[in-house]
């Protein structure tokens, strides 16, 4: 990796991991949502470093644009009385730390010791290639995903609708 990309990777990693910790640790849900947006933007930067510009654009549109707004809407609609502030951490929070750490370190060891048949630099697949994969080889899963989105949309509307008495 060239010098500039290495620096950019380190800075983006710090942004992503720090804002992910902030999502978990902030008491105020609005602060959590805002640091989640920072994390999503950092991931979009990582996609650009990996030469996946189309995915980076979709990340900004879908995650930063749509999902964050949805989350902030839900926080605003439910208000700040949504739970006892003293209980913002679950009782099992401190048991979960070693479990997650051990599982993460085990996966890191597997990742570091495995051998990879990888190219030296990230390639840049053309948008044409991705589009033709999406609409030829993966056309059936694509249709299935669009059906899942439609069902999810109808389900969300029905769940969030006020019941008529």
């Amino acid at each position: 990796m060239p010098e500039f990309q290495q620096t950019a990777f380190i800075l983006l990693s710090i942004l992503i991991l720090a804002s992910a910790f902030c999502v978990v640790l902030f008491r105020n849900l609005i602060y959590s949502a805002l640091s989640m947006i920072g994390c999503f933007l950092g991931v979009a930067g990582i996609f650009i470093l990996l030469h996946a510009e189309l995915v980076a654009a979709a990340q900004v549109l879908i995650y930063v644009g749509a999902i964050s707004v949805l989350v902030i809407f839900a926080i605003m609609l439910t208000g700040h009385r949504a739970g006892d502030l003293r209980l913002f951490f679950h009782k099992q929070a401190w048991v979960a730390v070693p479990i997650c750490a051990v599982a993460g370190i085990a996966l890191m060891v597997v990742m570091a010791t495995a051998t990879y048949n990888a190219t030296k630099d990230a390639q840049n697949p053309s948008d044409d290639a991705i589009a033709s994969l999406l609409f030829n080889e993966y056309a059936f899963p694509f249709e299935l995903v669009s059906l899942a989105l439609l069902v999810a949309m109808i389900g969300a509307v029905i769940l969030a609708m006020k019941e008529k008495k």
Partner: protein
């Protein structure tokens, strides 16, 4: 450490921060947010494997688009359930929902 391994290490770290959030926090909306973080970690791994692969460049990126669509569906359903639960009890702490307990 090769560049591919650096991206995978970032992905693993982000995934387990997200899973810690799912296990540690009580608020349902925050749990949905942490699940989104975990899905982002998976996307980093998919794109890294895809673009460092000598043969199948672009194939992993197609799956990232599927993950995007399903993450949007999951967020919509999860937050709608959270709003419905809030309307039922005026609470969003997961400990308050124990109606099925015998």
């Amino acid at each position: 450490m090769t560049p591919l391994q650096q991206y995978l290490a970032l992905s693993i770290a982000l995934f387990f921060i997200g899973s810690w959030g799912v296990l540690a926090r009580r608020n349902i909306i925050l749990i949905v947010m942490c699940v989104e973080l975990m899905l982002n970690a998976i996307n980093i791994a998919l794109v890294a494997f895809s673009n460092y692969s000598p043969t199948g460049a672009g194939r992993g990126e197609v799956f990232v688009f599927f993950v995007f669509a399903l993450a949007a569906a999951e967020a919509a359903i999860g937050l709608a359930i959270a709003i419905a639960m809030y309307r039922l009890k005026e609470r969003l702490s997961i400990g308050d929902f124990d109606e099925m307990k015998g």
